[in-house]
C-alpha cells in the first residue's frame, strides 16, 4: 500500500469498532434514502422523510432503554408488553380526557419506571439472569393486560389518548413532526448521561467488567437497577407516543419493538456484551431499520422478503464490525 493510501485510511483506523459501526450505519441510511429516491423521487421529500423519522422515533425511544440495558451487558425482553400495558393504562385511565392528562401521563411514566425497577431488583437481589427475569415480566404484563381488560373487551378499552398528548407527537413545529423533537430531547439527555456524567462512566465500567467495577467502588446493584428502570421508563414513553400516534391502544402493539430495539442497538455499533457503544449509534440503527423496510416496500417486496432482508442486513453489519477479537 502506498503511503498516500495509508494516510487516507488513517482516520478510519483510529476509530474504535463501535464508532465505525455508528458511522457505517449513518452512511447506510444516506445510501438507503438515495435508493428510495431513485424509485420514487417523493421518497426523499421532507414530508416523507419526516414521517419515516417519526416512525423511527418509536423504535428509537424503546431502543434508548435497550441501549442502557445492553451497555451493562443485560437485555430487556419485557419491552413489548410493558409498552402495551402502559399504552392501555394511558387510554383507560385518561379516557381520552385532557383534564386528566396532567396526572395520567406522569402516572404512566412512574408505573413504567417501577416495572423496570422490579426487573432490576429481581436481577440483583436474586441473581435471576436478565433473559429470564425480563421474559417472565413480559408474560406477567401480557397476562395482566389481557386479564384486566377481559381480552380487550372492556368498556374503556376503546378510549383514545388525550388530545394534548396526541399533539405532542403528531403536531408540527416549524414543519417538523413534534414527536421528533421529543426524540431529539431524549437523544440529548441520553448522550449527556452516557458521555458526561458519573452514572455514564459507571455504566461503561459495569458493562466492561462487573468484577473490576465492583472492586473499584462502583455500586453495581444500584447502577443495574437504575438501568433497568430506564428500560421500563423508555418503554413507557414509547407506549404513550405510539398511542398518541395511532390514537388508540391495540393488542400486540408492542410486539415488533423487541426485535427492532435490539437490532437498532446492534446495528448502531453497540456490543451486545456491553461496555461499548452509545445512543447516537442506536439512533442510526433505528432510522436504518425503518427506512430499509420503507425502501423495500417501495420496491414491492413482501413482508416475508422484508424480514429476510432485515436479518441478512444485521448479519452483514455484525460481520463488518461486530466480531470478537481473535485470541493471541
Amino acid at each position: 500500500m502506498s503511503t498516500e493510501q495509508r494516510t487516507f485510511l488513517q482516520p478510519w483506523h483510529r476509530l474504535s469498532h463501535s464508532q465505525r459501526g455508528t458511522l457505517l450505519a449513518y452512511i447506510a441510511v444516506f445510501v438507503l434514502f438515495i435508493v428510495g429516491g431513485i424509485y420514487r423521487p417523493s421518497f426523499v421529500y421532507p414530508n416523507n422523510i419526516g414521517q419515516l423519522l417519526l416512525l423511527a422515533s418509536f423504535v428509537g425511544i424503546v431502543a434508548a432503554g435497550q441501549t442502557f440495558v445492553i451497555l451493562i451487558g443485560g437485555i430487556d425482553l419485557s419491552v413489548p408488553w410493558v409498552l402495551n400495558a402502559m399504552a392501555v393504562l394511558l387510554t383507560t385511565t385518561s379516557l381520552g380526557m385532557d383534564s386528566r392528562a396532567w396526572w395520567v401521563v406522569p402516572l404512566v411514566l412512574l408505573v413504567g419506571l417501577a416495572i423496570g425497577i422490579v426487573n432490576g431488583l429481581g436481577i440483583v437481589l436474586f441473581e435471576i439472569p436478565p433473559v429470564v427475569m425480563t421474559l417472565g415480566m413480559n408474560g406477567v404484563m401480557q397476562g395482566l393486560v389481557l386479564g384486566l381488560t377481559g381480552g380487550f373487551t372492556c368498556s374503556a378499552c376503546n378510549s383514545v389518548a388525550p388530545p394534548s398528548v396526541q399533539t405532542v407527537i403528531t403536531g408540527q413545529l416549524l414543519g417538523i413532526p413534534a414527536g421528533l423533537l421529543v426524540w431529539l430531547l431524549i437523544a440529548v439527555l441520553a448522550g449527556l448521561v452516557l458521555g458526561f456524567t458519573t452514572l455514564g462512566r459507571r455504566i461503561y465500567a459495569l458493562g466492561n467488567n462487573a468484577v473490576a467495577a465492583y472492586l473499584a467502588g462502583v455500586n453495581v446493584r444500584l447502577v443495574t437497577v437504575i438501568v433497568y428502570a430506564l428500560g421500563g421508563l423508555f418503554a413507557s414513553i414509547a407506549g404513550i407516543a405510539l398511542t398518541a400516534f395511532g390514537q388508540q391502544a391495540t393488542l400486540g402493539m408492542g410486539d415488533p419493538y423487541l426485535f427492532d430495539s435490539i437490532a437498532a442497538v446492534v446495528i448502531g455499533g453497540t456490543s451486545i456484551l456491553g461496555g461499548r457503544g452509545n445512543y447516537w449509534g442506536t439512533i442510526a440503527g433505528a432510522i436504518f431499520l425503518v427506512v430499509l423496510r420503507a425502501v423495500l416496500q417501495e420496491y414491492n417486496i413482501s413482508e416475508a422478503g422484508r424480514s429476510i432482508a432485515t436479518g441478512v442486513v444485521i448479519l452483514v453489519a455484525l460481520l463488518l464490525y461486530g466480531r470478537e477479537a481473535r485470541e493471541v
Partner: protein, 503 residues
C-alpha cells in the same frame, strides 16, 4: 541432541519486549530450572515452547527438527507437556473427567463413566496420590489439590518434554517432596524437565542445570552445583544483591493504623495483627492459604463471620468495596486484567473510576479538573501512553500496572492492599514499583503486600506474617529477613492430600 530448543526467540506485547533474541535449550534426562525476576521472560518462553503463544521471530526445534507450534495441540502431539501457572481444569466437571479428557475409556464406542472414574483413581494411585476423590468436582478442591490434579493430568500423558511454570506455589512440604520424587523418576526415564521457581532451596534440591533469564534474554546456563545463590541473584538482576531492593526505612515510631482482632470467616480463622503507619507488612505463605481471603475481607468483598477491624483506633464495619474506599483503603487485585483494569476503556476512565464522586458537580464530571489530576499522576509514575484517551489494553503490562497503582494513589488511600503487584511486570517497572512502595511508606501510608516472590517480600517488607490454612502462624520481623525463613514457615503445612513419595 537437545530435546527442545528455542533459537533467537523474540516476543513483544504492546510495545514492550518480553523476549529479545532469547535462546533456550534442554537435554533429555535432565532437570533444568529456569530462574529470573518477575518480568524476565520465563513464563513467556515456556508459553511459546508449549504452543500457547506464537513468537514474533525465532525458531523452535524439537528432537533436532525445526517445528512450528501453531497451538497447544501441536505441542502435545510432539510430546511436550506443560503445567501452566493458570490451571486448565474445568471447574464444574469431576476430577476424573478432567484427568481423562479426550482419552476416556470406552465401551462399545461410548464413554464408560464408571471406567473413567476408576481409571482416574488408578492414575492418581500410580502417581502416588490418595485422598483426592475422582468423583469430586474440581471447583470443590483446594488450590493445592488442583495443582496436583493438573500435574497428574499432564504427566499421565507421558510427555517426553515437561514444562512446569511455578508448580509448587500452593504445595505443602510433603507435596513438594512428592513432586520432586515424580520429577526424579521421570528424569531416570529420559524425560527432559524444565520448571520455574522463586525458591532457591527447591532449585538447588532438584535441578541439574540452572538457566537464568534477565530482561528477556538468556544470560547463561550453569551447573547447579557450581552456582551460588549470590552469583545467581547477580546474574538475575545484573546488580549486587545489596543494591537490588531499596532498604525499607525503619519506622520512627509504631503508630497503629490497622488493627485486626480475631477475624474469622470465609477462609480465615482468628486472624489478629496490627499494621503500623508507614509499615510495609508482608502477608506470606503458600498460595491459597488465606492471603487473598484476608485482603478481600479487609476490602469488604468477603463478609467476616466474627472479629473486628479498627482503623486508627476506630472500629469499622466494611460491607463492600465502596465503604472500604471511603475509609481510605485500596486494593490491587490478583489479576489486573480481569479484576482491576477495564481494558477497552481509556486510561482516563480507569484512573478516576473510584473518585468520580469527588470530581463531579451534580452528576456531571468536571473534565478539566479530572484531566489535570490525571496528568499529574502520569508524570509522577512515568506512565507511558500516547494520550489519556488511549485504551488501557494497548499499554504494556508494566504501564498497565502503573495505571492501576495510579488509580489508587488518586484516592489518597492510607492503607494499600497489594496482591502480587509485580507479577507479569517487566523488570524495569518492577524496580520503579519498589521505589514507589518505599516512598509511600515514608509518607506514612500502610501497605499490606502479598507476593509469590519470597525474595521480593523479604527485602521490601518491614515484617512478614506467614499464613497457613487461614491462620497467621508466624511473624518474621526485619531488618534482614531471610527468604528461606518465609519459605520454611510456609511449606511446613499438613499436606492436603496423601502422598507417596516415589522411591
Amino acid at each position: 541432541m537437545a530435546s527442545i530448543e528455542g533459537r533467537d526467540i523474540s516476543k513483544s506485547f504492546g510495545g514492550v519486549r518480553a523476549l529479545r533474541n532469547a535462546s533456550f535449550s534442554a537435554e533429555p534426562g535432565e532437570v533444568q530450572a529456569l530462574v529470573g525476576e518477575n518480568g524476565a521472560g520465563k513464563s513467556t518462553m515456556i508459553k511459546i515452547l508449549s504452543g500457547l503463544f506464537r513468537p514474533d521471530a525465532g525458531q523452535t526445534w524439537v528432537q533436532g527438527r525445526e517445528v512450528v507450534l501453531g497451538d497447544p495441540q501441536d505441542a502435545m502431539r510432539l510430546g511436550i507437556g506443560t503445567v501452566f501457572q493458570e490451571l486448565t481444569l474445568l471447574p464444574y466437571m469431576t476430577v476424573a473427567e478432567n484427568l481423562l479428557m479426550g482419552r476416556e475409556p470406552r465401551t462399545l464406542g461410548f464413554i464408560d463413566r464408571a471406567a473413567t472414574a476408576s481409571a482416574a483413581w488408578k492414575l492418581l494411585h500410580e502417581a502416588g496420590i490418595s485422598g483426592i476423590e475422582p468423583l469430586e468436582l474440581v471447583a470443590n478442591l483446594s488450590l493445592g489439590q488442583r495443582q496436583i490434579v493438573e500435574v497428574v493430568k499432564v504427566i499421565s500423558r507421558h510427555p517426553k518434554i515437561l514444562f512446569m511454570d511455578e508448580p509448587t506455589s500452593a504445595l505443602a512440604e510433603r507435596e513438594v517432596e512428592w513432586l520432586f520424587g515424580v520429577i526424579r523418576k521421570l528424569r531416570e526415564q529420559g524425560t527432559c524437565i524444565v520448571f520455574t521457581s522463586h525458591r532457591w532451596n527447591e532449585i538447588k534440591g532438584i535441578a541439574d542445570r540452572i538457566m537464568i533469564f534477565r530482561n528477556g534474554e538468556n544470560v547463561g546456563t550453569y551447573e547447579a552445583t557450581a552456582l551460588s545463590e549470590q552469583d545467581a541473584v547477580e546474574h538475575m538482576t545484573g546488580r549486587k544483591l545489596d543494591m537490588l531492593y531499596p532498604e525499607p526505612v525503619t519506622l520512627p515510631e509504631k503508630t497503629p493504623m490497622l488493627q485486626v482482632s480475631n477475624l474469622s470467616g470465609a477462609g480465615l480463622h482468628e486472624v489478629s495483627f496490627s499494621a503500623y503507619k508507614g509499615e510495609v507488612l508482608g502477608i506470606g505463605g503458600l498460595a491459597g492459604q488465606g492471603q487473598r481471603e484476608l485482603l478481600l475481607t479487609l476490602f469488604g468483598v468477603n463478609r467476616a463471620r466474627s472479629g473486628t477491624i479498627e482503623i486508627e483506633g476506630k472500629s469499622v464495619r466494611i460491607g463492600n468495596p465502596r465503604e472500604a474506599i471511603r475509609r481510605g483503603m485500596a486494593l490491587l487485585p490478583e489479576d489486573r486484567k480481569t479484576e482491576g483494569l477495564l481494558l477497552p476503556l481509556p486510561v482516563r476512565q480507569n484512573l478516576t473510576l473510584p473518585i468520580l464522586g469527588q470530581l463531579s458537580r451534580s452528576g456531571f464530571i468536571r473534565r478539566d479538573c479530572e484531566a489535570s489530576l490525571i496528568r499529574t499522576m502520569i508524570d509522577r509514575l512515568t506512565i507511558r501512553t500516547p494520550s489519556i484517551d488511549q485504551p488501557v489494553g494497548a499499554l504494556s503490562g508494566g504501564n498497565q500496572q502503573k495505571v492501576l497503582i495510579g488509580r489508587w494513589l488518586l484516592t489518597q488511600a492510607r492503607i494499600l492492599l497489594l496482591y502480587d503487584v509485580t507479577r507479569g511486570v517487566d523488570v524495569a517497572t518492577k524496580h520503579e514499583i519498589y521505589e514507589l512502595i518505599k516512598h509511600l511508606s515514608q509518607e506514612g501510608r500502610t501497605i499490606l503486600l502479598y507476593s509469590t516472590d519470597t525474595e521480593e517480600m523479604a527485602h521490601v517488607c518491614h515484617r512478614v506474617l506467614v499464613m497457613r490454612e487461614g491462620r497467621i502462624v508466624e511473624e518474621i520481623a526485619g531488618p534482614n529477613i531471610a527468604p528461606e525463613a518465609i519459605v520454611a514457615a510456609a511449606i511446613h503445612v499438613a499436606a492436603q492430600v496423601n502422598v507417596e513419595v516415589p522411591r
